[in-house]
């Protein structure tokens, strides 16, 4: 049914469907909020082309995300679609939308602090990650690696709650 749509309308419909797909590990974030969704276009043969990029090389959520985009497009009446994974430019937390960061915090995950553009940030980390539960700045890192590749494990010394920190890369 979507085959009859003019290319621009098809693209818009495909984008809206793909952008609404949520990250399977962080269901409050859409792949658009995360910056994983890079592009939606219509190829010369009329098929919709969705371009995504992984957060980390081995992110196991990528297969799931591709599958869910397929399903979302099919539900929007788009049968002919291709999903392309690209590595370049390399994903960075700088692409996360402000809305995405606010959603993360509300969900109990501290959003990435600062900009990834400085390599020092990656190597020496940040000293201060405010607690997403109580807002206190009195927090400490427990482990560099957390429940998923993109997160580290922190703890709040004020409210004593542990929390995930979305690493800035």
């Amino acid at each position: 049914m979507a085959a009859d749509l003019p290319s621009e309308a098809l693209k818009r419909r495909a984008y809206e469907a793909a952008a609404a797909v949520c990250d399977p590990e962080i269901p409050v974030l859409s792949i658009a909020d995360l910056g994983v969704l890079r592009d939606v276009g219509v190829a010369a043969d009329g098929a919709v082309e969705v371009t995504i990029t992984p957060t980390y090389s081995g992110c196991p959520a990528m297969n799931m995300i591709a599958l869910e985009i397929d399903v979302a497009l099919a539900k929007a009446g788009i049968e002919r679609a291709r999903i392309r994974t690209v590595l370049s430019p390399a994903w960075t937390t700088d692409w996360m939308t402000d809305e995405g960061k606010a959603k993360l915090r509300a969900y109990g995950i501290a959003p990435p602090q600062g900009r990834a553009s400085s390599r020092r940030g990656a190597l020496f980390g940040v000293d201060q990650v405010p607690c997403p539960h109580c807002g206190s700045g009195d927090t400490e890192k427990l482990a560099e690696f957390g429940s998923t590749a993109c997160k580290a494990l922190w703890r709040c010394r004020s409210c004593r709650e542990p929390f995930d920190y979305f690493k800035c890369i």
């Binding site: 980390y56 090389s57 081995g58 370049s88 990656a122 560099e144 690696f145 890369i169």
Partner: protein, 260 residues
């Protein structure tokens, strides 16, 4: 369903070069995955498989590129991982060394990460667009690996008498595998000249600095450079790789093309 249980890989310079990098990442990733469920603390049980995941992800990207360069119809990333024999693997010997005690794993990770981190940063400038893209992605990950492994080595070396002794023993044991990291053969030299490959010699100063800084803080003694073991880059491996591949490949070799 595929029925092949082994593949022949064309002997071309770029393919060989990509496989060396991919095999390093896969074999070390496999080694680290062996810690899953066995690491000394819960946090470390999460950290080591996380690093393994990064490495296996890097290997996948590189094997996908290898399949593209190879050009044999139907060839995929999986064929390179599952259907090559020991002698066709091109990883350096360091990454296939056993996990040993936790200190051996940490020392192996420091020695490798201190090399591969500046390697990826330099490879971002490769004239090969795919290698440059993999490098940009991997450099973000290796930065965390070198920091994590370095912090552990400092903790072990500057920890108890027992942890210090074990860390120093692991360092002394593994040192003879570090020479191979900087090895270059004639085909690689041509790729370096073409601006595709990284000349490992240009990374030596940074590797020395990183390793020395960590060792100094860890109160460990840098071993004296002596005879260096090599052979992995041309397919002559230690006995350990065969066992890794038996574990990794037995399913695809017993039930070719199996999926679930």
């Amino acid at each position: 369903m595929a029925t092949t249980t082994s593949i022949e890989v064309p002997d071309t310079p770029l393919l060989g070069y990509v496989l060396r990098r991919a095999d390093d990442a896969l074999v070390l990733g496999h080694r680290l995955s062996e810690w899953c469920g066995h690491a000394p603390t819960l946090e470390e049980d999460i950290a080591l498989p996380n690093i393994a995941l990064d490495l296996i992800g890097q290997a996948r990207s590189l094997y996908q590129y290898a399949a593209e360069i190879d050009g044999t119809p139907g060839r995929t990333e999986d064929d390179f991982a599952y259907l090559r024999d020991v002698g066709q693997y091109r990883n350096c010997l360091l990454v296939e060394q056993p996990n040993g005690d936790f200190a051996a794993t940490v020392v192996r990770q420091v020695l490798y990460s201190a090399f591969i981190d500046p390697y990826w940063r330099t490879a971002i400038g490769s004239k090969d667009a795919t290698l440059a893209a993999v490098a940009a992605k991997s450099a973000k990950e290796s930065a965390y690996h070198v920091r994590h492994a370095g912090e552990w080595l400092i903790r072990l070396g500057d920890g108890t008498a027992e942890s210090h002794r074990r860390a120093q023993a692991a360092l002394d044991d593994l040192w003879l595998f570090t020479g191979e990291l900087f090895e270059v053969d004639a085909t690689e030299r041509a790729l370096i000249a073409a601006g595709i490959a990284v000349d490992p010699e240009t990374l030596r100063a940074e590797w020395n600095r990183t390793v020395d800084e960590i060792l100094a803080e860890a109160t460990l003694t840098r071993p004296v450079d002596g005879w260096m073991q090599s052979g992995g880059r041309s397919g002559r491996h230690s006995e350990h790789l065969g066992y890794i591949l038996a574990d990794l490949q037995h399913l695809q070799r017993t039930y070719p093309g199996a999926t679930w």
